[in-house]
Amino acid sequence: MSTYTQKKGFGATLWDYLTTVDHKKIAILYFIAGGFFFLVGGIEAIFIRIQLAVPNNDFVSAGVYNEIMTMHGTTMIFLAAMPLIFAFMNAVMPLQIGARDVAFPFVNAISFWMFFFGGVFLNLGWFLGGAPDAGWTNYASLATHSKGHGVDFYVIGLQISGFGTLMGGINFLATIINMRAPGMTYMRMPLFTWTTFVTSALILFAFPPLTVGLFLMMFDRMFGAKFFEVAMGGNTVIWEHLFWIFGHPEVYILILPAFGIFSETFAIFSRKRLFGYSSMVFATVLIGFLGFMVWAHHMFTDGLGPVANAIFAVATMAIGVPTGIKIFNWLFTMWGGSVKFTTPMHYAFAFIPSFVIGGVTGVMLASAAADYQYHDTYFVVAHFHYVIVGGVVFALLCGTHLYWPKMFGTMLNETLGKITFWLFFIGFHLTFFIQHFLGLWGMPRRVFTYLPGQGLNNGNLISSIGAAFMAVAVLILLLNVIITSVKNEKVGNDPWGDGRTLEWSVSSPPPFYNFKQLPLVRGLDAYWLEKMEGKTGMTPAEPLGDIHMPNSSILPFIMAFGLFIAAFGVMYHVNDKPWALPVMIIGLLITLGSMLIRSVKDDHGFHIHKEDLIDNNNKGVKA
């Protein structure tokens, strides 16, 4: 279509993205927003490391440190890692299953805008009298008694962005169940699609407990409820349970798509079929299943009793088994393959030892008796940074390089990519490896400073130097992005040369309807199969016909914006501000009004006609 070749003004492009329901553009929106929050969370991390670089530092005060530390965790988990993962899911998953879009394109747009406005609201705390300061876990009692509006920003902001995530998860489930191309059976789905599927199921079951917990917290803080107030018959531990029933699956929500990205990378750059595909699928499902039965290992020191601790300890250790299966499958995928060390492959390769270190400390932490020693020390900090940075962030950087051509049509510079990798890899281990020992030497988590002469000086300084390396690595990545975008050298369908799955069979970026004719999938790694038989593209599964497409709409943006306005009303209602109630009502009216418009206005979308498709440069019709 001509839409891609036309030069558009800035206003038109902006309007295009505000109203888009196309999964590829929503992916770019997620990518930009998630990338922005990743930088914000990164700056917070740098502040933390500057503050802790030397003993008795006064770079920030204790109160501000609490806010920075809380917002670093919250931002990185909810506003950086998850949206970036959603970006790749949106960009790649529909292409991998041979679909023209997700099942509910309109809802997809709502998901993004809810996340976005929730995230913006959460960060507005910095400018409106203090950010959340009760840790990313926001434990009750501490959180319910936190002064000012900080925790309110956390509760309302996460509630709004959580709705978006939940809708996104349901959307992906519906897409994968219903919209696979002809021949794409479940056991032929690429592993990234499988992990997206299991992750979406985890989102479906894990986010409602968070929603409930946040509502209880919101009522306690703003409307005088006493759910967590022990003196009034409440129970403060309930928040911990609700939070971790969500929070533990959440870490699998993050890591499973990372496993998916690495599985694709290993197969592509080893130029071999993924070893043990069915056991990989099995392990993914099993991890998702077990992920719901281990949450109390975050609460071993709560005094749950030896029986409960033992059960949760054993369940936690059991998760090591399917994860081990995966590690060995990746190793065997590389074994005997003709491995190409591209930038994505660097990340995938480095991920294995890094993640295994995180897994080993995970099993150490899982033994309840030992956990009494490790609990709330830097050992825990080191553990979860090893799994989240060494697993998830490596995967995100890997995916950025791997899927950049598919998302933007250009290749990131490989040399700069490798420089980024080495700086990040060295910086990561420099920062976090020593933190294991800091923890074992007795440095507690979440302290804003420490005294000299406790043996913590050198370790903390090393850690801070490592953080600087990672910061430089991210700056070089940004430079790489800018250089690549300015050069703007377009690439073809399969720029890595060894693409195996359907997304590499369409142009980069794909046309807005993805597939002119839905492809016929004849096995696992469908595109690779066709290439091995000497074909250049997929065999179509249907004759060329009209394609039904959804219309763009500004309503998703307005719906989420209404909730954003209402959030201010809800929050300042506590202060008896006279304008709070009207603002809340106006905001909700905007949201409900736009929902009403969506319901009563018929929107049947439009058709791309067959003739327009044939006119395209490469004739889609094959004999």
Binding site: A201, F205, P209, I238, H241, F292, M293, L304, G305, A308
Partner: protein, 110 residues
């Protein structure tokens, strides 16, 4: 299959077969509807008789579970083909929910 509409334009639809299927379906629905009313009456009766509440409460919950099964299988057609994915997710959700209740009732509340 049988949950599709009768008046489709498809010529090859066997109207006789459909009609028989629908009649059968209707019979199941009426039977389960009658049973559900009956179970509701029992529940009310259990409260009216004023048994020990430690007996009445679990008993009513049990009846409720039976009613949910009737509802889901006979009125929401989960007994039909093509509902594998929804039932998988229903049961997974149920499992997660029950696990939570089990944990809360063993280590939080008592």
């Amino acid at each position: 299959m049988a949950n599709q509409q009768l008046n489709s334009g498809n010529q090859r639809v066997d109207i006789e077969y459909r009609r028989r299927k629908s009649a059968e379906e209707m019979r199941y629905q009426i039977v389960s509807f009658a049973l559900m009313i009956f179970l509701t009456l029992i529940a009310f009766a259990a409260v009216a008789i004023k048994f020990n509440p430690w007996y009445t409460a679990p008993f009513i919950i049990l009846l409720a579970v039976v009613q949910v099964i009737f509802q889901v299988y006979y009125f929401m057609h989960m007994s039909h083909k093509g509902h594998e994915a929804p039932s998988l997710f229903l049961y997974s959700g149920l499992l997660v929910g029950l696990l939570t209740i089990l944990t809360f009732s063993t280590i939080v509340w008592w």
